[in-house]
Symmetry: D2
Subunit: 293 residues, 4 copies
């Protein structure tokens, strides 16, 4: 069993740390919010008095923070924790951040001889609690081999996308495509229903045809077509619209950096930003269906 | 075995008629192009001297024509064949046309006591030859039951989308979604590759994640990622860009009729129209990838 | 002074006929709604018992109807009025319809030796009442010369766009561009305000710079920037969103016919259709600003 | 007459410095490229041995650099010139950069008691040479009053957009709108021509109607419609596509920061990025017309 430092115990980090504890690992945890620390301590974690303390003398350090600025502050800022990290420690950042931030942090770590993985997740809070997250990992194969037992304690699928930053790139490409096909699915369903079709029948035909996609398989956006999905629960729960707006923003940043043309992805970002601005930011992202009623 | 009239013996209709013959049905065929008639006669069909002759006294009449005006001329024009059709004959139009045209034709047939199905196909020339077409059918359940043995002689999957015109609606919704997700997939792959990822690795990650869709399963648009697809054959063969432009045009017409907002579908149409205008109309529709190189 | 037949006395046609009367022309009028006929009679028109009666024995026949089907029914339908029109009569259709409908009607008229102009207007109800409409005219120069005195009695600017149908083409191109630049203006204003700018200051800078356009000159979409525009009157009055949706639909039809790629125009149509579907169809089209609040 | 430090003597900065000299100001200049310094010296400037030397002891310091990173390095980097600037010196940065970069730099200057203006320009190389640039200025009214005589020596119109950063915001809003309406104009012209209209006639009709905008007034994108514009010179000269891509990127960054929905602007960025990727990056931005041929 490994000794693990864990920084960031929010909706995602808290249950991830709990699953590490449940798998028998020793976890030293830190968060700026004392209540979150207390919750982790209540399930067996040890409290670290500072981020640097959580990072010192552990086999693996895991961070799970909201966005690029937080991760850059933690690893690159004036009082950053890098000097406190032992070269023998593997660092895994599971935050979803920009690939360029991920690369900068990994380079700074490497300059101190510290191996680092970017390992953003998909699967949401539900997956974090159930220990079924998907990790999309950037970094060396060696580092991934070292981190794999820990990742397996927190998730199911583990993909190796490439070198440092590649995990972030693959995640934002995937989520951009997801936003496009969720919107396209919602449009197609609305067009069919407005032209007299039953949404369940049309969903089934497209699912088995060349229109088949992940939303039609497990996450149908039309209310009532599928049980147990946000669309059938007033779009509550699931993957929030405002988080999709954030991920699409990361995709657009990546496109700006390379001069990529992403007409569909850019349109999806504007539609999702509009949806959030209309007050649906805290609803599931399949609520894009409401734009086409 | 049934007696079948078959009108329209082009790239699709010819092999469809051949499969009916191979299944033991008697086929009386007509086309304005004598060579096409000769090809069907060579595999066992009987030549009809006119469309009306092909339509008279058969159990089932099948038509397979390029577009709405041809179908309207055949069934609604001044010298249309409706008067020649016996009320006991089932009419199946497998052309891809506008839902409103399909409904108009079905209503005119019904007014003469003739049952009609709109049964557009997917699967392309390859599916027509192999007898593995998918039929998406609009019309009554009774009429579909009568037509099913014939459809099964020409194809694999048969979906009942709803009443008259519903087959056309479902097909154009599906193909609109297909165009959207093919374009979105091409964008995501290009964005990933420009940011350092391997296209095969990224394809595999998205295929197994929430970005999963039909193109990633069987029709990857990036050259070399998948064997045997048009993308790996200089985008030759497959489903031509100009036919996708046609289908997207039908989707837009349906959207105009009902006032539907289809931002993604409309953008896909413009991107595909631009692709065709740049000379790729006769390439496979996955060549949309070239817009994002 | 001319004898004029006038068919279609709605919000636009009524005041247009009144201006002809005010200019001293004799007007014989018809509408399916008796109240509308009564209003025209009250200001000096003569009532015609039928459309054909209004069309018979006049120097000029003017029609002002809602959409293509009405115009086709009037001039091409089973009981159409073409046989009642004298070859010496000039026909002016001021309805906004599809170019292909306009050309079909003009051809049918020509086949009977009747000269015809398509002369759609811009300027709205206000322009119709004030007699300041703009006419965008398709047809021969000779026919336009004959019709000009009448058009001048109803409007200010008269443009000759080209042959039959060209008036319709020019109008829908103009209105597509108008929708694009109104939306672009609304986006730019919202982006500026969200980044701390004053909307009036930003409007003035763009108006005098390369962002200058008609909306910034006379029709600013941001409430309060400009006096006397719909935006400063809760978006009441002006050019209704649902009429813009109609005109964008005509633009899309024209694009479908020629295979034109119109990504901006197509996006504008979907945004305007969405606006109408959200209940703003009867507000001025500058209310697109609300999508970007 | 003022003593001026000038950093950045490229296509824009060189002629701007020359106009200051022509107006009688003393200019001390610096650039990393010796040849550019030599050109300024040849028209009367004094050479500064370093950026800091150019910035020391002058009444006004002007910088004209390619992008945000250069400006941040100059004013915020490790060896930045801020310590070398006297509090009595007014700093004017005329680079086009992100509003957030402009605000960061202005804040750092203010912390040292140095007043600063962000004053991006429009008008291109031609305007820089002719001394007819437009300046869109952010900063205090006092600072603008101090800088105005210098700005007037280099340009014609001077707009005060608001506080620090507002000049950048107003410029990118304007240029986003410009890209949208240039693209919309190109689409409308292509749609009209494909439907039989003459491009010059259609341009004139739209120019005088509600489609009127800056491109139709002075910068028509259709070859041959207007003399002396890039479209009539194989799209050479003018405002390069790759610079428009850069400005649209800044607009997208601003939209990402505030969560703004900019569907038209985002689509314009993708279309322009695609145009640049197809090899037209060094052509004038009105070459977007080529996408719609």
């Amino acid at each position: 069993m490994a000794s693990v430092g864990f920084i960031g115990l929010g909706n995602m980090g808290g249950p991830m740390a709990a699953n590490l504890l449940a798998a028998g690992h020793a976890v030293r945890c830190f968060d700026l919010v004392p209540d979150l620390v207390a919750q982790s301590v209540a399930v067996g974690a040890q409290e670290a008095p500072s981020a640097a303390a959580a990072a010192t003398g552990v086999d693996v350090l895991i961070s799970m923070l909201p966005a690029s600025p937080h991760v850059e502050a933690l690893y690159l800022g004036e009082d950053c924790i890098l000097p406190a990290i032992d070269p023998s420690t593997l660092v895994i950042d599971s935050s979803t951040i920009s690939p360029s931030s991920a690369r900068k942090v990994a380079e700074a770590a490497a300059a101190r001889g510290v191996a680092m993985l970017d390992a953003p997740v998909s699967g949401g809070v539900g997956g974090a609690v159930a220990g079924t997250l998907t990790f999309i990992v950037g970094g060396t194969a060696d580092a991934l081999a070292r981190g794999r037992p820990l990742l397996e304690a927190m998730g199911g699928n583990i993909f190796h996308a490439g070198d440092a930053g590649a995990g972030q790139v693959a995640k934002i490409c995937n989520n951009m495509l997801l936003a496009v096909q969720m919107t396209g699915t919602a449009e197609a369903l609305a067009l069919g229903v407005q032209n007299g079709l039953d949404p369940a029948t049309l969903s089934e035909i497209m699912r088995k045809s060349s229109g088949g996609n992940w939303p039609l398989e497990v996450y149908n956006p039309w209310p009532g077509v599928m049980d147990g999905v946000p669309a059938s629960n007033d779009y509550d729960g699931g993957f929030l619209t405002r988080l999709m707006v954030k991920d699409l923003g990361l995709a657009m940043e990546a496109a700006l950096e390379t001069g990529a043309a992403t007409p569909m992805g850019a349109l999806a970002r504007s539609l999702y930003a509009g949806l959030a601005n209309q007050g649906l930011g805290d609803k599931d992202f399949s609520s894009i269906q409401k734009l086409f009623d």
